[in-house]
């Protein structure tokens, strides 16, 4: 179906974006391709150092998966912030990718997990890095004849710290004004590396090179936290819309990153402990 007339067909998975588009009358395609019964794409697999998540896996399944809780708890954090329980029961990570909103809440975590997205058509299969997958708001490299079949990433390092912070106008069913995901490796009070991604501050989710650069080798203290958070704010290129002004978004990026790192410094942040997710 996709191979023959891909451009005229819209895949629908959980439908939590597609149904809204249909209702708003903005869906261009005349036909839907229902993926909801593709049970073979509903999986979470451990594959050596890799975790593979099938395209039909819902947020709820991610949240409940022992494998994700053990090796990629940042994705659990992120999944819990998506919409509400009803949305988490239906929505999929692949759908979040396919929808390609700069405010998508699973995507910053996938950026810092340096995930890869598998795209398959009737006679081809390829994998692209998450950073290359998105071209802009609602635009991806997916060809009309392809489906997203899987997202994969390496297990998080034991002992690494992580966070996903989302700022919305309310506590459920809120679209992010800004969001930030980070994984940080500390040794002896020094930052080995930080991977930091920001949502809703550019046409796609972005990594923050300035913040990551400032973090490398720095002591984790109030000064460095401030410098890193300022770096993130500099890298943000937000717009003004109904959910917030550009100026505010830049300040909020600073706030989110500062608070997240401060929590890690003061021992109240989250940390990867294989087998179970632990604190401090």
């Amino acid at each position: 179906m996709l191979a023959e007339r891909g451009a005229a067909v819209r895949p629908i998975s959980g439908g939590t974006d597609v149904m809204v588009m249909i209702k708003d009358g903005v869906l261009k395609e005349k036909e839907l391709l229902d993926l909801s019964r593709l049970e073979e794409l509903r999986y979470i697999k451990e594959d050596g150092e890799l975790i593979r998540i099938g395209a039909r896996t819902t947020y709820r399944e991610v949240e409940r998966s022992p494998v994700i809780n053990a090796y990629a708890p940042i994705l659990v954090e992120a999944s819990k912030t998506i919409g509400s329980v009803q949305i988490q029961n239906l929505g999929t990570i692949a759908g979040n990718l396919g929808n390609a909103s700069p405010a998508a809440d699973s995507v910053p975590s996938l950026y810092v997990l340096e995930a890869r997205v598998k795209l398959a058509s009737v006679n081809s299969e390829r994998e692209v890095g998450i950073g290359e997958f998105f071209l802009g708001p609602r635009k991806t490299v997916r060809r009309p004849d392809e489906l997203i079949t899987e997202v994969s990433f390496r297990k998080m390092e034991p002992g690494s710290h992580f966070f996903f912070k989302k700022l919305g106008l309310r506590s459920a069913n809120a679209i992010s004004i800004v969001s930030a995901a980070g994984i940080l490796k500390l040794s002896n009070g020094k930052i080995d590396w930080l991977r930091l991604a920001l949502g809703a501050v550019a046409p796609t989710v972005i990594r923050s090179p300035t913040a990551e650069e400032r973090a490398r080798g720095a002591e984790l203290n109030e000064d460095s936290i401030r410098a890193i958070a300022e770096g993130a704010s500099t890298d943000a290129r937000p717009i003004t819309d109904i959910r917030g002004t550009a100026e505010y978004r830049k300040k909020a990026v600073f706030g989110l990153v500062y608070e997240a790192l401060y929590e890690i410094m003061s021992g109240s942040g989250k940390r990867v402990v294989f087998g179970l997710e632990g604190r401090g």
Partner: protein
């Protein structure tokens, strides 16, 4: 009222479940928009997509010939008056000559299918000459662009007493501040809609969500040019209203389409249509200057109140009155000067919304009281205790305060609350507690108000209670059933309510102004007394006794060792062919004349409330997190504590939305921007703080069994209390709602 008599009630002061909650929980209750009558046509409204324009042409010929089209109506097809509006019938039913807001209806279509209706709408030729959109009240008052030929000020009035400049000259401190509040959307669960049909005898039936069936009926009759007798309106059940269904929404359009096509027609707005064309709360800009002595006692109050009415008036004139009445708070204000304006803009149509002008003015006066307290170094509860009117005193509008003990007690409860000690932020989270008080009149002030109700004793063992104040989720039918049960001394299960249907009930008026308990409650009690006095005579005659010798208790009349139930008496009356229906009209107590310059100020009955809000502010993100709200209220005797608390809690959360995230907005060219739940966000259950609601003991002898009203009190003081909490937390005074994060960083 003593403690003992409280405990004598059998059916009052009791939290019985709502009579319709089981049906609602099971999903069995059908709103009127859930009904799809057989053989119905689909109604559709073609709306303007510009905010302000001269209409050059609307041609419907092609659309009329389109497949499946049964009617295409423009202003030319209106048999009666092309105008409606609760106060002044100036809102065009269908646009004529001018378009004054984005979404204004241009034409109505009835078709066999919705697709056909929409296709036909595309074929209607509309030529408009755009005019500049005026979206700001100051710009409107400059009168450069006239929205109406008569000018942009719909109503201007000055209300005054004493000599303000003299008071200010003698004052220890005079503060002047400008406060603003935004437009707010009702966002009820059921958008505006319903259906209509014409029966064999030519009666036009309109069944649609609404708040005022008899006013709807009257407005429809004027537009159709037929007698109100030929119209029936039913409003029950309605899925939320909050004032947004008080004036007509779909009713007139439905009636026009059914009247023209003689077929059942369904017309239901989508959420987005409701977002575009539904009503909203007036935005306000209030500059207030208040003078106090050293101890914080008010000497004078001046205010310039400007309310944004939008393109037409709807309830604007009386909303302005309530904002005038509210601007002096529940305080002793020796002299005041209130300069009040209701201004036209191209921002949709502002209309009733819970509180009706009170939340707007309350934000100004209560923020001012908090600012004065801070300037003077007086505790914010204390400054209020020094200024509130006490029982027997004359209020600023010449009304004698009959009973204010409740407010004083509420303030004392608030002062001793533990909440003050619980504000303990740390790090970047700053916490503060704020207070504000509210006063709100119950009913229509000095406007004549004669609500009627009826009861019918059914021999099979039920008493049917009929009144028209719609229950749109507030629990009215339950509260009134409890009052009826109490009066009759029979279980609530024997009461059957017929609500909001002009076919069955006399006119009890609208569900608005927190008046339903007073109006329906009093009229029903009176109708029951009427019934009991008639039945008593009947009982006496059967006993061969005089009626004064007959006792009544628990649904039976007794004389010596004999007794007869009201149902048995009803059976006998029915056999004699006599009516079992008893009707009564209540006269709402009021002052004979309004204060000069007003339409309906003052009221005789007031509710009071004190809100305490504890909020945390994330100093880096500017995000306000409301932790806890305590609300002490005087609502008179409480008929159903759980429903009453629910009203306060719901009002508080709606007030928190208003104070933090809700703001209905227009683009620079007058297109509404946030018209659905994705873009117009309201608080969710997760955003609701811990809440504690307490009703202080109170009894108002003007109300049924001492009850007053409750619907509006919760929302009114929330904005000012939250702004004060934020100030205590951060040192920042926010004078324009909502308190969005970007105002705090």
């Amino acid at each position: 009222m003593t403690q003992e008599t409280y405990e004598l009630y059998r059916y009052l002061n009791r939290s019985i479940p709502r009579l319709d909650s089981e049906q609602k929980v099971r999903g069995e209750l059908k709103y009127l928009t859930d009904v799809y009558p057989e053989g119905m046509l689909h109604g559709y409204v073609l709306r303007s997509t510009v905010a302000h324009a001269r209409i050059l042409e609307i041609s419907t010929e092609e659309a009329e010939r389109a497949p499946g089209i049964r009617a295409v109506l423009t202003y030319k097809d209106i048999p009666g008056i092309n105008g409606y509006g609760a106060i002044v019938p100036e809102i065009p039913v269908l646009a004529y000559e001018r378009v004054r807001y984005y979404g204004e209806p241009l034409a109505l279509i009835a078709a066999d299918s919705m697709e056909q209706a929409k296709a036909a709408a595309e074929m209607i030729k509309v030529r408009l000459e755009p005019l500049p959109a005026v979206l700001d009240v100051d710009e409107a008052m400059a009168e450069k662009v006239k929205i109406h030929d008569k000018g942009n000020v719909a109503r201007h009035t000055v209300v005054k007493r004493g000599d303000v400049s003299k008071a200010e000259a003698q004052a220890h401190l005079v503060l002047e501040r400008t406060y603003r509040t935004p437009m707010q959307k009702h966002m009820f669960i059921e958008p505006e809609g319903g259906y209509a049909y014409v029966d064999g005898s030519g009666v036009v039936h309109v069944l649609a969500g609404g708040q005022s069936p008899y006013r709807d009926k009257l407005q429809i009759s004027r537009v159709l040019g037929i007698s109100p007798e030929m119209i029936r309106v039913k409003n029950y059940p309605t899925g939320g209203a909050f004032g947004g269904k008080d004036d007509a929404t779909v009713q007139i359009h439905l009636a026009l389409l059914a009247y023209r096509t003689r077929k059942p027609v369904r017309l239901a707005w989508t959420r987005e249509e409701s977002g575009i064309a539904g009503y909203h709360r007036t935005a306000s800009k209030i500059t207030i200057r208040t003078a106090v002595d050293r101890e914080g006692r008010l000497l004078s109050n001046s205010a310039k109140i400007v309310l944004d009415s939008g393109a037409y008036q709807s309830f604007g004139p009386t909303i302005l009155d309530v904002s005038i009445e509210t601007i002096n708070g529940p305080y002793r204000v020796p002299s005041y000067l209130i300069d009040a304006y209701l201004v036209y803009t191209n921002n949709g149509i502002a209309s009733a919304f819970r509180g009706f002008g009170a939340p707007e003015s309350n934000f100004a006066i209560e923020s001012m009281m908090n600012e004065l307290a801070a300037e003077l170094g007086i505790d914010p509860v204390e400054i209020r205790l020094r200024n509130i009117l006490r029982t027997g005193e004359e209020g600023p509008f010449g009304n004698v305060i009959r009973n204010s003990a409740g407010l004083e007690e509420a303030l004392n409860r608030a002062r001793s609350s533990g909440i003050w000690r619980r504000a303990n932020g740390s790090g970047w989270i700053k916490e503060g507690v704020g207070v504000a008080v509210a006063i709100k009149g119950v009913g229509f002030g000095t406007l004549p108000d004669y609500p009627s109700a009826a009861v019918e004793v059914i021999p099979e063992g039920k008493v049917r209670v009929m009144f028209t104040n719609p229950d749109y989720g507030q629990g009215v039918i339950t509260g009134i059933a409890q009052l009826a049960a109490e009066r009759l001394q029979i279980p609530v299960s024997e009461i059957e309510v017929i609500n909001a249907d002009t076919m069955h009930s006399p006119d009890t008026g609208s569900s608005s102004a927190s008046r339903t308990t007073l109006t329906a409650g009093s009229a029903v009690v009176q109708a029951i007394d009427e019934a009991l006095s008639k039945l008593r005579v009947e009982a006496a005659s059967s006993f061969g006794a005089s009626s004064s010798e007959v006792q009544y208790s628990g649904g039976r009349f007794m004389y010596r060792d004999r007794s007869v139930t009201i149902y048995e008496l009803a059976r006998r009356l029915r056999q004699k062919g006599r009516s079992l229906r008893f009707e009564a009209t209540f006269e709402v107590p009021r002052y004979p004349e309004p204060v000069e310059g007003t339409l309906e100020v003052p009221h005789m009955m007031y509710m009071y409330g004190v809100a305490l809000v504890r909020a945390g502010v994330d100093a880096l993100l500017g995000k306000v997190n409301v932790k806890e709200v305590e609300f002490y209220a005087d609502i008179g005797n409480v008929i159903n504590p759980s429903i009453a608390s629910g009203q306060v809690e719901g009002g508080v959360v709606q007030g928190l939305g208003y104070a933090t995230i809700e703001e209905y907005r227009y683009s620079d060219d007058g297109r509404p921007l946030n018209i659905n739940f994705t873009t117009y966000v309201v608080p969710t259950a997760r955003d609701s703080p811990e809440m504690y609601v307490e009703f202080v003991k109170s009894y108002d002898e003007l109300g049924p069994y001492g009850a007053k009203g409750v619907g509006e009190i919760g929302i009114i003081p929330v904005g000012a209390a939250l702004a004060e909490a934020v100030y205590r937390a951060t040192g920042k005074r926010i004078r324009d709602l909502p308190i969005t994060p970007w105002k705090l960083v």
